[in-house]
């Protein structure tokens, strides 16, 4: 609360404050609009949508599309709705987020507190790996998954997400730990604490905010991924986004837009929840970490 807590420093006139509130509200409206369109249309019968005005409120409210998207909509040949794929996504996202976060934390710890020659280079290389376009890794990755015999499984997907998640998770933890007083680590070392003891007893307990940031970031990316999910998971193991795409993107069939929107909101549910629940820690974590440099 640098400025705000310092009332006299930044006291602004009432007119200015009104203006600020107005701008903030307008932007809130702008951010909410697309979601609003989705929500409104997910509660309309299809006939009202095809009639034309897609921004209007429903004349006849219905939750039918939601029920359909969740449990009866046709995803492929079976009318299962999105329900089973939801579980797939969780089975994929939770381990992938956990593993990449742990690896990122350890990497960040090594890179900042056990600096050795070439460490900066390794970090640079890791960071650049965040920017690889995923389209080019598709074919070689498929080959490697085939060799490891985990093609088409959830394990394969977890591996892929861990591999391409390490870059960002290392970046977050490294920047966070860089600001962590090295003296504490040295003192513990002199007291005879080992590598893992220091990590466990000294680093981890104060890593809460950055763990939150890292988990939010990874969870969002992994949950929303479509390309890998479609390419590396066979039918039964497909994640939510692939199922949603199958629901929404069928090319030559009748489109039930209301069901599509209901399904889309459902698919977005977990990430939305994470942002709303953990959003507070997000700013706090960023504050302590990556943007402080």
């Amino acid at each position: 609360m640098a400025i705000a807590s310092n009332d006299s420093a930044m006291r602004s006139s009432n007119v200015t404050r009104m203006f600020i509130y107005l701008v903030l509200l307008l932007f809130a409206l702008f951010y909410l609009l697309p979601f609003g369109i989705m929500l409104v249309n997910s509660l309309k019968p299809l006939s009202e949508i095809t009639e034309g005005n897609m921004i209007a409120l429903p004349r006849e409210w219905t939750i039918e599309p939601w029920l359909s998207a969740w449990s009866t909509a046709q995803i492929g040949v079976e009318p299962t709705g999105l329900r089973p794929y939801f579980i797939n996504s969780i089975a994929m996202a939770v381990p992938a987020v956990a593993i990449s976060t742990v690896l990122g934390a350890l990497n960040g710890y090594v890179l900042t507190k056990w600096h050795f020659r070439g460490a900066t280079w390794i970090f640079g290389l890791l960071l650049f790996s965040c920017f690889i376009p995923f389209q080019i890794v598709l074919i070689p990755m498929a080959r490697i998954l085939g060799i490891l015999d985990i093609a088409g499984t959830t394990y394969g997907l977890i591996l892929v997400h861990v591999v391409y998640g390490i870059g960002f998770s290392t970046l977050y933890f490294r920047n966070y730990y860089a600001a962590f007083p090295t003296e504490l680590v040295r003192a513990a070392q002199i007291d005879g604490a080992g590598f893992f003891q220091i990590f466990w007893r000294i680093m981890l307990p104060s890593s809460g905010p950055i763990i939150a940031v890292c988990c939010i970031w990874q969870f969002t990316n992994i949950w929303n991924d479509f390309l890998f999910g479609a390419s590396f998971a066979s039918g039964g193991a497909a994640p939510m986004t692939v199922a949603l795409n199958n629901l929404v993107n069928s090319s030559t069939g009748v489109r039930e837009y209301n069901v599509h929107f209901a399904g889309a909101i459902m698919a977005a549910g977990p990430t939305l929840l994470v942002y709303i629940v953990a959003g507070r820690y997000f700013v706090r974590g960023l504050m302590a970490g990556s943007v402080k440099g």
Partner: protein, 416 residues
């Protein structure tokens, strides 16, 4: 030996039929995910279940099958191809060329596929004389869909020539309606262009330009004429056409906002779904100028090479089920297309379906049945998409007809 085999089979049957069920399984990669399509596919699944073959579903929607093809590449590269894959046109040939497809000759011979599948389709289902895919349907792409009430209101008869077609659209436009419902996406632009080029240049030109890729035809006078006609059509679509999904364009015809739509016969499902009947509330006729010819695309199931013998048996079972008349009828009734077999009784199909089947048979015999360029049945995907680029750029006003024809030559050259 036979005794042993008998014993063995007998024992297996006795042991537990469920083990046999579990052992036989097909994994099917497809992009038929909309309600109707998936329900139709379910017919096939139940067919197979009846024969003790399980079904693992692997749907990947999007991009008219291109996303599914991306996934297929990943799966094959991983050494784990699906047993059966929905495929279109040249993709089948390309995979066969890679040696990735299984041979269905024995079954084809037994069931006499050579006789019942039109030759133009066999061009895609066979590779170097061997059957590698089982065709499911034939979509014709040169259809006009029309709102009957609107035609009556405006006093429009079914047009039989390009001039009449234009006149009819002019009438509609003057009366304040949208003459041509269209969605400005590259493949939709190309779908229209396909029929228009056929009308403007005739079958020989179509063959020369789109199949043989003859530069003279590609840059010739007929091509310029085709692009000119596209300019005319551009004047009949509403301002808001760009990016619209095809089914929203169909909805415009259904709601009576628009008179015509040029689209493949999957559009019929939208009309039927809205409670309309073919031949009554809505009409279908060939794009004027292209009568007597049919441009088609055909969905097929290609079988991939698999090591396991039970898997191979499942593939044969699946191919056989796909080609069974019952499935061909059940599926195509839902899909709006015509069966790939020519020996199917048309009585259960509606007016448009029957017309499609009759046209198809006639065109097959007369040699005027062509794979559709817009739907990847005339040339390989690289060329097809290069043509898309030119067609869609021209339709969106980036250059005039002459330039477009010249661009067509360059684009095709670069894509080869």
């Amino acid at each position: 030996m036979t005794m042993m085999k008998k014993l063995y089979t007998g024992a297996a049957v006795v042991a537990l039929s469920t083990t046999a069920v579990a052992a036989q399984e097909v994994e099917v990669l497809h992009w038929w995910t909309s309600g109707g399509e998936a329900a139709a596919l379910n017919v096939l699944r139940e067919d197979l279940a009846g024969g003790g073959v399980g079904w693992t579903d692997m749907p990947v929607a999007g991009g008219g099958g291109s996303d599914a093809m991306t996934v297929l590449r990943a799966r094959v590269t991983a050494g784990d191809p699906p047993t059966a894959v929905q495929m279109l046109g040249f993709a089948i040939q390309n995979w066969a060329e890679e040696g990735a497809l299984a041979d269905l000759n024995a079954l084809a011979e037994e069931q006499n596929w050579n006789e019942v599948v039109p030759e133009a389709l066999q061009r895609f289902s066979t590779y170097e004389g061997n059957w590698v895919a089982a065709p499911v349907n034939v979509h014709s792409t040169n259809w006009v869909w029309a709102n009957t009430a609107l035609m009556e209101e405006l006093g429009i008869e079914q047009p039989t020539s390009w001039e009449e077609f234009v006149a009819a659209m002019q009438t509609a436009q003057d009366a304040g309606y949208t003459a041509l419902a269209h969605g400005g996406q590259a493949w939709q632009d190309a779908t229209i262009f396909d029929s228009i080029a056929m009308g403007a240049g005739g079958p020989e030109f179509y063959q020369a330009a789109f199949v043989d890729l003859d530069p003279e035809a590609l840059g010739g006078a007929e091509m310029v004429e085709a692009f000119n006609r596209m300019d005319t059509l551009r004047g009949f679509v509403d301002d808001n056409f760009s990016g619209r999904d095809w089914n929203l364009a169909t909805a415009m015809v259904i709601n009576g906002e628009a008179l015509f739509q040029i689209m493949g016969d999957w559009a019929k499902g939208e009309f039927v779904n809205a409670g309309l009947t073919a031949g009554e509330e809505f009409q279908c006729f060939r794009v004027p100028g292209s009568e007597g010819t049919v441009t088609f695309n055909s969905d097929q199931f290609a079988m991939f090479n698999v090591e396991d013998e039970t898997d191979q048996e499942s593939q044969v079972a699946m191919a056989s089920a796909v080609m069974s008349p019952e499935f061909q009828i059940a599926f195509n009734l839902v899909k709006g297309s015509a069966p790939a077999r020519t020996d199917i009784d048309p009585s259960s199909f509606d007016a448009c379906g029957q017309a499609a089947m009759a046209d198809l048979a006639a065109a097959g015999e007369g040699g005027t049945l062509f794979g559709s360029m817009a739907h990847g049945h005339a040339n390989p995907p690289s060329v097809q998409n290069a043509m898309y680029d030119v067609i869609t750029a021209h339709f969106n006003g980036e250059y005039d007809a002459e330039t477009a024809a010249a661009e067509m030559v360059t684009a095709v050259e670069l894509a080869q």
